[in-house]
Amino acid sequence: MNEFQWLLKGRCYKLGHDVPHPGGVIPNWLIAGRYLDPKDLVPHLFEETDPGFHTRCKPGDIIVTGRNFGMGPKMNGYIAMQALGLGLVCESMPFLAYRAAIGCGVRVLTDCVNVTEMCETGDELEIDFRDGFFINHTKDIRREYPPMPDTLMEIVELGGNAGWLKDWQEKRRAGAA
């Protein structure tokens, strides 16, 4: 198994404050229709504000958002972010949005005060989710934000809740054998 990439190097994709999950992240019809397959979700990530986003982003790119990211019914957008290999760095998000992102296996930092003032879309960023180190190579800015708690890193490393539970069961079976 390849080592999990906790250090992401990629381009910044910056969003403002109060971006809701339905509409702002992914169209509501995918949420209401309970689409959970990444294949269905990926083409529609940020579709209403930035059509074709999924064709331009690359694994390792980092979504940087303002305060209160991801209000409303959640999950589907994070499935798409995880599938695209994107990281997420927020000034703040409702706790259950944070929990949903972790549960979908997204590398995520929250409570990154004023992080949107440290970067613009297209800047070259480097972020280590293990220790919260943030570097903007384009603007030569370094900051330190709260890292991901260890317990939650384990979930993300296994691809989210489903992967964690599968791994738990496999280890248990192996232990019993």
């Binding site: 409702p94 706790f95 549960g103 939650l152 964690w164 539970l165 069961q169």
Partner: protein, 424 residues
């Protein structure tokens, strides 16, 4: 630095001397509750992984409260599935149709949920546990992990304190406090972020019985509190001691505990409130909205389904009939309350007034599986919230009030102040 009640409970259940907000812990719960609507999803998810045995089947409580009388073939199928799941999992504490009632009410009434306890629930209205001085945390779909492993990760939440000053006037109900509180937060009269906080009450709390305390838990949940805590009074402890089905230790915040915000609210002059359609935060004095015609009324839900709530409604309905164009649904919170309504004659009061009695459970306040509203209709209820489409057509107008306000409105046929009805 001392700890708040939720910090103390999470520390104790996680085997730690202390915790602070932001710590991630895996508490060992006193029990695990799963409601009827999500059993199928959890069972299939676990079966697919080959997980057929639960970590602690004796701790699991399965409750049929969201869709009790099966208004569709699909619901009946789900009921049958749930019974089979309970048997396969070896869940003995299965409160199926007609066996318990509302999962956020009957465990407190019957001494299953006691002060100082902690439990996991799939449903966010587990916050009701605060009424008896306990904590229930919502896991949503992650309840499957709790069933499989016995626990899940919890980030210790911050606590906001709300001190209530004064005594409610007669005819004003604990639900009215929540509606006003939500309005004050929205309008800026009080400032606090409730997202993932525990709202802990303080101040003049002796006046609130268990039903009043459950009512205090209701509205904060709708404005994103993750837990609510009402420190148990001597009367609540006496209730718990009388009913307790196992030992318990009440928990209180330390005097030097840290609060994320410290709010105060004077309730002595509070008037009965009505929340206007769209959000619990849209509360106004009942006098501002009186005379709005209503078609539909409902009394029940996590916030207003206990014995005292139904007594308040029955005292308004006694000897009266519903207005000709109003249908009133009543869903008691528990089978025990239902039996008491029959034994003490209140069932007759409701039926003679023309109300329709629903089985104990959520009633219309769950995706309108029963007693919904039609497009354009006006409803007043004690439901947990009045978000568009909460129980039926999205363009119906859903008002909220206390049990007395709803009963009075159903009698008058218009939104009404129960105190005026009593005098006339």
């Amino acid at each position: 630095m001392g700890m708040t009640a939720v910090e103390k409970v999470l520390a104790a259940k996680s085997g730690r001397a202390s915790v602070k907000p932001g710590d991630v812990v895996s508490p060992d719960p006193d029990f695990i509750m799963i409601h009827d609507g999500v059993v199928m999803g959890a069972k299939r998810e676990l079966d697919a992984l080959g997980i057929t045995k639960l970590a602690a089947p004796d701790k699991v409580m399965m409750v049929t409260d969201h869709d009790v009388i099966y208004g569709s073939a699909r619901a009946a199928e789900r009921g049958a599935f749930n019974r089979k799941a309970a048997a396969q999992w070896g869940v003995k504490n299965f409160y199926d149709v007609g066996r318990g009632g509302h999962g956020h009410i009957f465990p407190m009434e019957s001494g299953l949920l006691l002060p100082g306890m902690f439990y996991f629930d799939n449903d966010r209205h587990a916050t009701n546990a605060g009424a008896i001085g306990a904590f229930g945390f919502r896991m949503g779909g992650e309840i499957s992990r709790v069933l499989a492993t016995g626990t899940n990760w919890v980030m210790v939440p911050k606590t906001v304190r709300l001190t209530l000053r004064g005594k409610l006037k007669p005819g004003v109900h604990a639900r009215d406090i929540g509606f006003r509180f939500a309005a004050l937060l929205k309008q800026g009269g009080l400032a606090a972020d409730l997202d993932y906080r525990v709202l802990e009450y303080a101040g003049d709390l002796e006046q609130f019985d268990l039903a009043g305390r459950a009512a205090l838990c209701s509205t904060p949940t709708e404005i994103r509190a993750y837990g609510v805590f009402v420190p148990p009074s001597e009367a609540i402890l006496e209730h718990a001691r009388t009913k307790a089905q196992r030992p318990f230790t009440p928990v209180y915040s330390d005097a030097d505990a840290h609060y994320d915000a410290d709010l105060k609210m004077d309730i002595a002059a509070l008037e009965p409130q009505v929340s206007l359609p769209g959000s619990v935060e849209n509360a106004v004095d009942v006098s501002e909205i009186e005379s709005t015609p209503v078609d539909h009324a409902f009394i029940g839900s996590c916030g207003s389904g206990m014995w005292e709530d139904l007594v308040a409604a029955a005292s308004v309905l006694k000897g009266r009939r519903l207005a000709p164009n109003v249908r009133l649904f009543v869903a008691p919170g528990s089978e025990a309350t239902n039996r008491r309504l029959a034994a003490e004659g209140l069932l007759g009061t409701f039926i003679e007034a023309g109300a329709v009695m629903l089985p104990p459970g959520c009633g219309p306040c769950n995706d309108a599986v029963i007693g919904p509203v039609h497009s354009g209709e006006v409803s007043i209820s004690t439901a947990t919230n009045n978000n568009a489409g909460r129980f039926g057509a999205k363009d119906a107008k859903l008002y909220l009030g206390s049990p007395a306000t709803v009963a009075a409105s159903a009698v008058v046929g218009k939104i009404a102040d129960a105190r005026k009805l009593a005098r006339s």
